[in-house]
Amino acid sequence: MPDPTPTPAANASSSTPHAATVEFDHVTKTYDPRAAKAGAPGAVNDLSLSIPAGRICVLVGPSGCGKTTSLKMVNRLIEPTKGRILLDGVDVATRDVTELRRGIGYVIQQTGLFPHQTIEDNVATVPRLLGWPKARQKERAQELLGVVGLDPSRYARRYPAQLSGGERQRVGVARALAADPPVMLMDEPFGAVDPIVRERLQNEFLRLQEQLAKTILFVTHDIDEAIKLGDVVAVFRDGGIVEQFAPPAEILAAPASEFVARFVGADRGLKRLSLTRVNDVELGHAPTARAGDGAADARERTRRNELPYLLLLDAEDRPIGWVDEARLPAEGQLGDRLVSATSPLLDRRTTLKDALSMLLDADVQIGVVVDRRGAYRGIITVEQIAGFTRETAREAQVRADAATG
């Protein structure tokens, strides 16, 4: 949620959450056939989207589908043929284009860093254009380098050519954030780095967004990236038509069309699992007992439970392992040596996809969910995961039907 106290843009040296709504109102961009042949970007056809403040909206689709065109119409690098784009309710066409652009963060795939300026000067670009005092420009640049994980004392005086692709991309993000814009446009920002670096940048980006809560329009052709990063996702088809505009879970569970289903891929079931965490599922419970507890009572409780195993815990409730019902003694105390099998320990933040993968590999296909201290919280089984996905798919379908009907 954005901070309710308004922050004057001129006083935005701290990163007070400050975001704007973005609305596409029947926006169309057409190119004459000659321009289209000469490699004009994709056309856009009657686009209407409403992006709430402080959210990440991912525009995803095949190349030439108009997603980049849509993005560039927000900061008027491209002017729409028809329709309006509103930032916080104000039509961008009515605003001075230079002032508009200085108030919108812009990150592109090739970074567009100025090769002739130091990293610090690159980051301070918009503050410099806005005429901030020199000292404040410098201070802001240093602060932002820290925010994106680049030590200012090491990086500030370097030139872009002296940085790796991933580092340059971080500088690009820092530069876009410099004047604390309420809206950020990001055009395949992580498209040119290798998969390992991309994954790391994505994670940092999400962590950053948790603090900054900007309104972000993010263009990618990678559906996995869209699902991972988007609060909402707009799936574009050739010709600049939005096939579906919904949260990622809904797109995966209930694709609005054949095109969306094909675009998200045959493995969309698995992709949905990667969106859900163990935390989101109602956990089951196994019979448990602590080492040293009386065996008779434990055996009785295990008999009454449909699960033919008892989960043995230590004194801090941390799981030790499974005891087969048949091996539970009628009397005496429970001890470690009774344990015949273990199963994977799952953190509550483990995704269902990882959980499933671990379960399929384990001796006992029951995941034991533990809290941060490692204490037992519950169990999760393959059946539960399957049941959860069925249930949520049905709910999503109902929601999607309600939205279109």
Partner: protein, 234 residues
């Protein structure tokens, strides 16, 4: 072989002619650069004028210099312009080609980012495109200056008031006096080399980023190593 006596007697003359030589060259280069820069900006904004401009300056470039100087005399008489105008015309082809190439070499993503961040056209030209075009522009100025310094000697054909160090070459030829020819030609060559080296030094000062040393493990070909370091700095 060399008449050192003549040299010692004419040191003042040599200095004066060197200054004249340099003056002609610098004036021609400055005026030529201003015209070429304007023509280049015009070409960059309206691409279709580029080919005619290059065609026209190319034809100028092929005119034999002696003929062009002679052709100026009926128009401008024996004024300084008679020497300067042809010298200026000969710089245009090289300078326009290099200035346009310099601006064309500015990476498209840099231009797009500059536009997207709200640079005005003028600010973008001054603060982004010009610095990035500088290496190729300076390269053009270097070639033009060497050729101009050579051509200044030809203006000696217009009379004793012209020619810079070329005056000695023409006079030495007339008098069949090799020492004088040598002391016209060698200082002219030294001048050309000195100006070239000075321009290299100026470019180095103006484009520090081209000299920035790429650190091991920091090259763009090695992103993972560099990134492995970065999070620890957070």
């Amino acid at each position: 072989m060399i008449d050192w006596g003549w040299v010692v007697d004419h040191l003042d003359d040599l200095a004066g002619r060197t200054i004249q030589h340099l003056g002609f060259a610098v004036a021609a280069l400055a005026i030529g650069f201003a015209i070429a820069f304007a023509l280049s900006l015009w070409s960059l904004r309206q691409r279709r004028v580029y080919a005619p401009i290059i065609g026209f300056t190319g034809i100028l470039y092929t005119i034999p210099s002696l003929a062009l100087f002679a052709a100026m005399v009926p128009i401008t008489g024996l004024s300084v312009l008679t020497a300067i105008i042809p010298l200026v015309l000969y710089t245009l082809l090289i300078l326009v080609r290099n200035i346009v190439a310099g601006f064309d070499a500015v990476p498209a993503d840099v231009e797009e980012a500059a536009n997207g961040m709200g640079y005005t056209r003028r600010a973008r030209l001054r603060a982004v495109e010009l610095p990035l075009a500088l290496p190729l522009i300076v390269a053009g100025v270097r070639v033009a200056s060497v050729s101009t310094i050579g051509l200044v000697t030809i203006t000696g054909a217009l009379g004793d008031r012209f020619g810079g160090l070329g005056f000695f070459i023409f006079e030495g030829y007339r008098r069949s006096f090799p020492t004088e020819i040598l002391f016209g030609a060698i200082p002219a060559m030294v001048l050309a080399v000195a100006v070239d080296l000075a321009l290299v030094a100026v470019q180095g000062r103006l484009t520090p980023w081209t000299r920035a040393e790429v650190q091991p493990g920091m090259s763009s070909l090695d992103p993972v190593t560099a990134d492995d370091v970065a999070p620890k700095a957070a």
